[in-house]
Amino acid sequence: MPVITVDYKDLINLLGKHIDMSILLDRLPMIGVSIERVENEEISIEVFPNRPDMLSVEGVARALRNFLGIEEGLKIYPISPPKISLYVKDNIEKIRPYIGSAVIKNVKMTHETIKSLMDCQEKLHFSIGKDRKKMAIGVHDFDKVEPPFYYKAVEPKEIKFVPLGKEEEMNLIEILNKHEKGIAYRHLLEKYTEYPIILDKNGNVLSFPPIINGELTAVNQYTKNIFIEVTGIDKNAVLSALVIISSFLAERGGQIEQVEIIGKEKLITPDFSPKITEVETDYIKKLLKINNTEEIVKSLKRMGHNVELFNDKLKVYSPAWRIDILHPIDIVEDVAIGYGYEKFEEMLPISMTFGSSFSFQKLHETMIGLGFYEVITLSLSNPDKEFKKFEMEGNPVEIKNPISTEHSIVRQSLLPSLLEILNKNRHNELPQQIYEIGNIVYFDGGKAKQKIMIGGVKIDAKTGFTECKSIVEAILRNFGLQLNVKECKHKAFIEGRCAAIIVDKNEIGYFGELKPSVICNFELEYPVIAFEIDVNKLFSFSQQKQSNQQEQ
């Protein structure tokens, strides 16, 4: 999740009121952000992905002013109607069809403003833009170019300009192949033969979206008026990002002037008109147990909304930058946050239900009684451990994007993991007897199926098939079952020393003495016995037996 760094003094300055650091650190989490850390005067804040409007110090300050009662209700920025136009050519439609744009006049480009602008641009690129795919933002010095502007697709070699941070002119192909941003983002254009470009009246290049701006319109501390363009393939993302970034600059004292976008349809951007959600008061009251409507209204104002009351409904006017409001339930949450999570009383459910659980307590008791230690191992494994070292074959669930070769499949048996634990405990005293109750996954008719197994191993200077048989017999006896065996051919066991466990003609597991080669593969030096039993079968046969007894 994105983390932004906020300078305490800058934040106080934007709040317009002194608030102690300790109070800030206490209140910030209650609006719905996390404090990552605080170093000197720098506060690192983690912003949840639903609130990109807080991805900069300006946005945090705006939310805090409401939350701390410095300002009330919907923030309205003065907006001037469009004086300039941007023309969208049809040929861009199949490449990057959407564009929104704004002019911000009289911005004081302090060090803080520039830093915050660059930072939040990057954060927005990631969060809303999905790394510039859905939308990308360009910020320009408005006074270096002359409107109207043109957004269109061009032949890559048709246009040459000096990209940001460079000194010589490059054509679009050269930028994609040589410029670091070109190399990083060229995959976004690889499907196309023509590329998007934004030009001014005189053919000067402002931007080659979503790759790089021109050096010509680079913003610095002398910039007074800013031109913002946001392009993308998702109209929503484009227009939301434009509103958010424009509002940040307005927080810094800039005056927003809209731009007329002229393409197939006419559009005036940015659109700051509030979003209206109608919510039934009862819906909020029932979910939150707040009975006082006035309290609800106050809470919403503390979250930056304006509210109109009529009959049993609230008409909520939310700021345009609140892109997270999809449903009245999102208004409910803002009531809860505005009210304060800490203030809700705690209640308990009322319904009557019966509890039950899948405890394997009886099986655990049996194993502990036999002196075994329970271990827990990962179910992610690899063919080397499961098949090569264990000398078995298998058909496991395979992971498409494993993070390491060590964890590329899901195990089909617990025994290799247990042998690995023995390997890790070579330095510890013998005998060692360990078990695990866990899931394994296998294929049945092309479908991945899961079952719960108990696996156990024992290593000692003197142990063998007979001891293993005693152990398995003891387990079955505790569950009221009698052990029957059948010869079993399992490649990890010495031939003639492995048996299938049969209960009522059903095979429920196997046990025996491991092959020396398998023992050596796990770098062990003593005899090892092992068993694995299907826990659900063990339990169901045991229950069956008991209920049969009841009937007799």
Binding site: I329, F344, F354, N425, N428, I434
Partner: protein, 488 residues
Amino acid sequence: MEALSPLEKKLLIELQKNDGKIKPEKIDMELVKVMNAAAWLQSKGLVKTSENIIKEYEITEEGEKFLKEGLPEKRILKDVEKIEIETLEKKFGKKDVSISIGWALRKGWCRIEKNEKNYLIITEKGKEEIKKKQPEEEALEKIAKKDFNIDEKIIKVLKRREAIKEKEKVERIIYLTDKGWEIVKKGIKIEEEISQLTPEIIRSGKWKKVKFRKYDIKAFAPSIYPGKLHPLTQLIEKIRRIFSEMGFKEIRGSYVESCFWNMDALFIPQDHPARDMQDTFYCKKPDKIDIDDELIEKIARVHENGGMTGSIGWRYKFNKEEAKKALLRTHTTVNTIRYLANNPVPPAKVFSIERVFRRENIDSTHLPEFHQIEGIVYEKDANFCMLKGILKEFYTRMGFKKIRFRPSYFPYTEPSLEIEVEWQGKWIELGGAGIFRPEVTIPFGIKEPVLAWGLGLERMAMILLGLNDIRMLYFSDLKWLRELPLLI
């Protein structure tokens, strides 16, 4: 005075007899027992032991031959006046003869005359000496009897002749201390004291007559270790008990799931970062899982425009093929939504404690596989206060005294919250919770609010066990498990 064992008493008496100083092997008792008794007496301050390294000798094969056959120079000179050396060599072998002549010459027993051939002539001294027992032979006889009181010169000769080997040995001596003398002077009585109670003593009634030796109850006893549940299981069992006592029913699900149930049904947009190849394990085999087309269609509409849920939806084009992709479940919320889809009639309180998978590199705080404690309350008019209440109840039952809640975000809950507990003066985040969004519940005919949570198990285990490395939980060191107390 602390109790003395019969062996200790016997050793003290022996010491008294020998003026308070004795070599342990001189006592008519098993050496191990003597040394044991000495160690106990030493710990009580009654005796001291000293250790010296002394030299001992062992007769070699060559030495044994000397003992049996006499010195070789004696043998070759026997019944000889003057003899050709060649003749001797034929009889005794060249090597033996040359060594023997060497020694005989040195001792002045013979001389050599060189004409055309070399002759050996025995001297008068030689004639006398070969009849007597030589000092080397005497010394060897003494060594054979473990008597090492022998002239250094002879030892040197024997070593040179490779008849003996030198060995170092630790010689122990046990001394009575002043405190020990005090005790023995008071007189030590050896009564028949019983140490080990035997069936024979019980059956015969002998126990009525004998005295049972008092044991030193502070003495060391060997460690034994019972079999044990893994601490994580102990914790899981405790949580199971708490939830089932509160009326919750446990449910289970599968590791391999579809994107549909794991993500789409929970209103997680298809471009959500958690769905990246970076964060989620997708399966190569099986790569797809069949989902009912009608169901996909219904959920697609919710994502695209909210469907019948009253939401505006995520407003993007839903990819139905994406929904069928197989993955390893990233949360157990998939168990919950599947349960609710099959049981849409309230009330329901269910929970699960199962493994989930995330594409994380292994380090001290991350594993690609860990447990989630999942649960829901689904009932008429369920509300936010109940969510706080039930979570507080759970963590209180787990033993945490201070619990707090703050706003959070999950795509499938609204309002959402994060739970923190205070542990050793710090607030530690243990899980997330919220009320399922209408976009999640309405498509499945779920009509009442669902309070849901997904809590971390390993993190709680780590703080309760005082671990700072999560790997300890999954790479069980048996020594650690043996020593670890049970979770009470």
